[in-house]
């Protein structure tokens, strides 16, 4: 039963949207791996779905993370998303109240005021509730207008540029609710069926004729229709993708090294909010074209240049700040893998290296892998060995003389297959040793050992964790001094592996650990990163200087870190002592 | 090229060359491959210039080839050289004229050694005496035979029947001069014009109407290199060096090459044939190769000697095109006649090199 043709734009728009969505979702899900699909089937009727629904509600409608970042920005997003959602829900309730049934044509709740001029029980309450919700949404629209004029008020320093499609969708979105207000007000002027808001506005609409009224409803419907059609082709698609992403994430689907359908879902989940732009340290060196939001855009548009792709420290600050929870580092690495897959090395020479014979009765408890970077900082290497000797640990030094790289630098550069060769080689050696613990003194190695090595029962420990254990077991005892220490979280150890507390606990046994403005998950990168292939030394130094400024604000006696690369990077820039945690432990050992 | 600059250098590298009464020290390679050049040299000196030169049947190789191939010890070669000095002394002569550039280098080096180490000279005197009961004086003047032709280049020019000029165009011929490495590279002061810009051959060429071509690799070795030629497996190295020179001179379109060292003349000539047969390349435009002359042959041609008497028919690269350019009259039929007018067998034609 079509009462009036003006519902057509809306209806057609909605049908188009649903068809496109159905196809997109279908394609994405069908392209997931078999295991991932199995995961979905298994989790569909479990608590995970509930958790996903809850998160979708909290993030997709309430915008909890956005609120945490900035109140006004959160409110703007919430009023638009949640307000609209409530409008739809209450629209249906309104119909239910009037007809006593939920089964009606989908356009009836949307254009309710046009179709229903009669009063019914509860009509006034419903009209006022709907007006209130409309006002709520309109406040968000007003803020959105204002944000375009002045984004700083919303805590955004830099914002993304809009494409024409986005502008079109945005313009139609901006029109929807004002037009709804005008249309309802016009109807209210003619029939007096409005609430507190529309009846008030209706005072200005006393002159309208039924033709004008129908015209306004047409405009409202058209703007809705346009928005629905534009939505899958504009940035607003992220809203619909993110929900799918949240569900898949809750179903335990993880990002693989290779770019796949799940990666694509993540790429399209980006809301282009620009949070990643602000947290990126590259701005300090005036590099403002390669932040994650731009990279994701380039990935969608297939125009990512090598220069941009490789010019990122992969520090992970954007990833931990991303309100959507996109795995930005791994996405970027997956692009590097794709870009360089044609030229991976097989490291054939590893097969010809002489193997040291394994002595059965001298099976070590711990196998220590120093890694390339630790070999460049003999102080760290010596200290680790000293602590192990002092604690009487039965250990084997895996790469004392000759050792292959751990593979993480290759992984960072996207040389995935090549990295696998090194991983296989090292894994065999580690497992052969019979040790139960793998000790590493470099977070770069630590990250790859944890993520990619599959070492089975062998526990992997960074020296800061392991030394803390030794202290707790009483194998070494430390003397506390009155020195103040600032601890710098290495990216790969902190954000990369989530190790924030053990180094601090350990350090607090040797001195006073001061906290800094940006630490733990928000800590700054030292700039030495192997993740970046093309950042110049001059730019690295600029970034490093800023990091040091934050770290040294309180004039600590010692700048502590737990990464040989961070140490080497910092040591060239400061006058105060820069020490690895291992060196500090050796100094404090009794 | 700034000629004034060259002259500046030449002026500081002029050596004394004896005027008359030479003892002729012959060359192994020259007498085997260019015997007519020796004859021509003696004829020029005796008949054209009226000089006294003694060609001694008793003298031998200097053993330079053996020495440079590491099979003759230094003491041995010194004693052989001393014997030649003894022969010279016995002939009542004081000036030695050496036909071979390698011999010239050896003699010069040995004399320099004796000057710095007189005890070595005494030792050699003793060796020679023990072996041959001969005694010797150190020569007063030592010259390469090309030095002597250089010295009398203007006299020869006056008697010249032909000039090194293209008869048709009237342009001077473009001549590549190649100086043997052992001529002046060890002792620049012992060569006319020094080691970098030797004058000995360019002096002759310019006096006789030609133009010298200075091409980038002109200082490079001809490729002989003794050991590198003598062992077959190494010959690739020898010929590669010659190729380098030929490639470098090719853009200058030389009309002919002239060398003062018999070995150089031989290798620059024969290797052109080898390169043509092996790789199908020649370094002139028409596929005949660049004619190579000894300076004696060049002087002989200028003086109007019969090209067949000068032995040009024994070269690998045929010289008729050059003779035609200069306008030298010759009898093509007489090319392969012996001195009695009997026909000699005609050599087979090479596969690639045109004759």
């Amino acid at each position: 039963m079509i009462d009036n043709l003006f519902i057509l734009p809306f209806t057609l728009g909605m049908i188009t949207l649903f068809v496109i969505l159905f196809i997109k979702y279908g394609l994405w899900i069908s392209r997931l791996s078999k295991i991932d699909k199995l995961r979905i089937v298994q989790s569909l009727f479990s608590r995970r779905t509930l958790a996903a629904i809850s998160e979708s509600f909290m993030e997709g409608l309430i915008h909890r993370k956005m609120f945490r970042r900035h109140g006004l920005l959160g409110y703007m997003h919430m009023s638009l998303a949640f307000g609209w959602f409530l409008l739809i829900v209450f629209g249906h309730i309104e119909v239910f109240v009037q007809t006593g049934s939920f089964s009606t044509y989908p356009w009836i709740p949307i254009f309710f005021n046009y179709f229903n001029h009669d009063s019914f029980p509860g009509e006034r309450i419903m009209a006022n509730v709907m007006d209130f919700l409309l006002l709520f949404v309109l406040s968000g629209v007003l803020l959105a207008y204002f944000k375009r004029i002045n984004s700083k008020v919303f805590g955004i320093k830099k914002t993304t540029k809009l494409k024409p499609g986005d502008r079109f969708a945005m313009a139609s979105l901006w029109c929807i609710f004002p037009l709804r207000l005008f249309a309802e007000s016009a109807t209210a002027a003619l029939y007096g069926n409005g609430g507190f808001l529309t009846n008030t506005v209706a005072l200005c609409f006393q002159w309208v004729t039924p033709e004008v009224e129908t015209g306004l409803w047409w405009a409202y419907s058209i703007s809705l229709g346009i928005f629905f059609v534009c939505m899958p082709f504009s940035r607003y698609m992220h809203i619909l993708t993110e929900i799918l992403f949240i569900f898949l994430r809750h179903y335990g689907i993880k990002l693989k090294k290779q770019f796949n359908s799940y990666s694509r879902i993540q790429v399209y989940s980006c809301s282009r909010c620009g949070v990643c732009i602000d947290v990126c340290q590259m701005h300090i060196a005036n590099i403002s074209n390669n932040q994650s939001v731009y990279i994701l855009k380039n990935m969608r548009d297939h125009d990512l240049t090598a220069r941009k792709l490789y010019n990122c420290m992969l520090c992970g600050r954007c990833e931990s700040a991303c309100p959507v929870g996109i795995n930005l580092n791994d996405l970027r690495i997956s692009q590097r893998i794709k870009a360089s897959k044609e030229y991976n090395s097989d490291y054939a020479f590893l097969q010809t290296l002489p193997c040291e014979p394994v002595v059965e009765d001298k099976k070590p408890e711990v196998i220590y892998f120093a890694g390339c970077m630790t070999h460049m900082t003999p102080g760290i290497k010596k200290s680790v060995v000293q602590v192990l000797e002092k604690a009487g640990v039965n250990y084997q030094f895996m790469d004392k003389e000759k050792g292959a790289c751990c593979g993480r630098p290759l992984m960072l550069a996207g040389q995935y297959q090549a990295a696998q060769k090194l991983i296989e080689f090292n894994r065999e050696k580690i497992i052969e040793s019979g040790a139960t613990t793998l000790l590493v003194s470099c977070p770069i190695c630590y990250k790859v050992f944890r993520d990619d090595y599959e070492l089975g029962q062998i526990t992997i420990k960074h020296h800061s964790e392991y030394f803390l254990e030794l202290v707790e077991q009483g194998k070494i005892s430390l003397k506390k001094s009155d020195k103040s220490i600032v601890y710098h979280d290495p990216c790969e150890l902190g954000r990369g592996c989530g190790v924030y507390i053990p180094p601090r606990t350990l350090l607090s046994k040797t001195g006073t650990v001061l906290s800094t403005e940006q630490e733990k998950v928000t800590s700054l990168c030292c700039s030495g990163s192997l993740g970046d292939l093309s950042l110049s030394m001059a730019d690295r130094n600029i970034i490093k200087a800023e990091t040091l400024k934050v770290l040294l604000k309180q004039n600590p006696d010692v700048l502590a870190t737990a990464c040989p690369l961070c140490k080497k990077t910092f040591v060239k820039g400061v006058d105060i002592q820069v020490k690895d945690i291992a060196e500090i432990i050796v100094d404090a050992m009794e | 090229m700034n000629l004034e600059g060259k002259k500046q250098i030449w002026s500081s590298y002029q050596k004394e060359i004896a005027d008359d009464n030479y003892y002729y020290a012959r060359s192994c390679i020259r007498q085997n491959f260019f015997p007519a050049s020796e004859v021509a040299f003696l004829r020029i000196l005796r008949e054209e210039l009226g000089k006294n030169i003694f060609d001694d049947p008793n003298h031998t190789t200097c053993t330079g080839i053996g020495y440079h191939s590491d099979i003759v010890p230094f003491d041995t070669i010194q004693t052989v050289v001393a014997r030649h000095f003894a022969l010279m002394t016995e002939a009542g002569l004081e000036n030695i004229a050496i036909s071979c550039v390698t011999s010239f280098g050896m003699y010069t080096e040995i004399l320099d050694l004796w000057e710095h180490f007189p005890e070595q000279l005494e030792k050699i005197r003793e060796y020679l005496y023990k072996a041959t009961k001969r005694e010797f004086n150190i020569p007063k003047n030592i010259a390469h035979t090309s030095d002597i032709i250089y010295k009398f280049r203007n006299e020869i020019a006056q008697k010249a029947k032909y000039q090194l000029i293209n008869k048709e165009t009237g342009e001077p011929l473009r001549v590549v001069e190649h100086i043997g490495c052992h001529y002046a590279k060890m002792f620049p002061t012992k060569g006319v014009g020094g080691a970098e810009f030797p004058q000995v051959l360019s002096g002759m060429i310019e006096s006789w109407g030609g133009n010298v071509v200075d091409y980038p690799e002109r200082r490079h070795c001809c490729g002989f290199g003794f050991r590198n030629y003598l062992v077959q497996a190494n010959r690739g190295y020898s010929v590669s060096n010659t190729k380098k020179k030929l490639e470098s001179m090719k853009p200058f379109k030389p009309d002919f090459i002239v060398a003062n060292c018999p070995g150089c003349a031989m290798f620059m000539d024969k290797w052109q044939y080898t390169l043509a047969e092996m790789e199908g390349v020649t370094y002139d435009e028409d596929g005949y190769g660049i004619p190579v002359l000894t300076y004696e042959e060049m002087a002989g041609l200028v003086l109007g000697y019969n090209p067949w008497d000068l032995g040009l028919q024994t070269h690998q690269v045929q010289c008729e095109s050059l003779l035609n350019k200069i306008g030298i009259e010759y009898d093509p039929k007489a090319k392969y006649l012996d001195k009695n007018g009997n026909q000699l067998p005609i050599p087979e034609s090479p596969m690639n090199l045109k004759v």
Binding site: - | M1, Q8, Y215, P216, P251
Partner: protein, 343 residues
């Protein structure tokens, strides 16, 4: 009686004279050429700033004019005699005899004569220049830069250590300024002939002074000057007047062949012939590099073995403008000490 006679009117002599005049001494400068300023007159720009040499020259002309210094041009010293009373009698070519209390030798250096490296073909191949020739060419440059044969160069090579660190040319020592001059000139050539490839063939690069290493790096990174570690062995001319160089690329351990349109020989500094003669005449000791030997290398670099004779500038060895001016200033103080003690 004049206080100080200064031999040489280059920047060393002028700076010494100005400083001494300011200290209240009466000075006379004797200069054999017809102008003051010495080698600086022939130079276009100075390292490491690329400033015009004429600016420095103008500075000294102005200072000289302000102080009205006494300068005898076209005059050279014939003999210097130290008399029993410690005073000096100086005979000059002008038939003038000066009596003075002390003498400052500021006669500088001369450039190595590149003709001595015959194999490089200087004065034989038209497109072989010395660094000094290039400076003159640049100084008088009008319009497009061309090689002596009138070609716009596509490839240029600079040869370091010509007549320096070379026993064969009689100079075993390092002239220390040629490396940085080569880099300066290479940059200059790249600036005016951006299409040209520029090579520097060096034995070692000695970028000892402030700003030098930066310049070297700029030459590499910004101007893409290519540095070949190897010494030129010989040069030959091609049919078109371009030159063929033979240089071993010692890092690759292989001979290399390079065709260039212009070759610049970085000639080193030698003691001036006149300084050598002067030193002989008055018994000045010379070092093994034939420059005048200083009394104490570290704390007496202006004094000589003859009391009352001092040195200023490059008569003691290769010095840059920077070094020369400083050495000349210190000469003034050394003379001041000496004259005060005399009183």
């Amino acid at each position: 009686m004049i206080d100080v006679l200064i031999i040489g009117g280059g920047i060393a002599g002028l700076e010494t004279a100005c400083s001494l005049q300011d200290l209240g001494y009466e000075t006379v400068i004797v200069e054999k050429e017809k102008t003051i300023g010495g080698h600086l007159n022939d130079w276009d720009t100075l390292f490491p700033t690329h400033r015009p040499a004429s600016e420095v020259l103008e500075h000294y002309t102005e200072e000289t004019r302000k102080r009205a210094l006494t300068i005898y041009l076209n005059t050279y010293v014939i003999s210097v005699k130290k008399q029993a009373d410690g005073l000096f009698e100086v005979q000059t070519s002008r038939d003038v005899v000066f009596h003075c209390k002390s003498v400052v030798l500021a006669s500088g250096y001369q450039l190595f004569n590149a003709e001595r490296k015959e194999e490089y073909g200087y004065k034989i191949y038209d497109n072989v220049l010395t660094s000094a020739d290039l400076e003159k060419r640049l100084k008088n440059l009008q319009g497009e830069f061309t090689t002596p044969t009138g070609v716009s160069p596509k490839r240029i090579a600079f040869i370091h250590c010509v007549g320096s660190r070379d026993e064969k040319s009689g100079n075993h020592y390092c002239s220390k300024l040629c490396c940085v001059t080569a880099v300066k000139q290479a940059i200059h050539m790249k600036q005016i002939c951006p299409q040209a490839d520029v090579f520097c063939c060096y034995m070692d690069l000695r970028m000892y002074g402030p700003g030098f290493e930066e310049m070297y790096r700029e030459a590499q990174e910004k101007y893409h000057v290519q540095f070949i570690r190897g010494r030129l062995s010989e040069v030959a001319e091609n049919a078109n007047g371009s030159l063929q160089l033979k240089v071993e690329d010692t890092l690759a351990a292989r001979p290399s062949r390079l065709q260039v349109d212009m070759l610049v020989l970085m000639v080193g500094m030698e003691t001036a012939k006149s300084t050598e003669l002067f030193a002989q005449s008055c018994g000045l000791e010379c070092a093994s590099n034939r420059f005048v030997k200083t009394k104490d290398h570290h704390i007496g670099s202006n004094q000589t073995n003859v009391d009352g004779i001092f040195t200023a500038g490059a008569s003691i060895g290769p010095l840059s403008v920077f070094d020369t001016v400083n050495h000349a200033k210190s000469a003034a103080f050394a003379v001041n000490d000496y004259l005060k003690a005399m009183k």
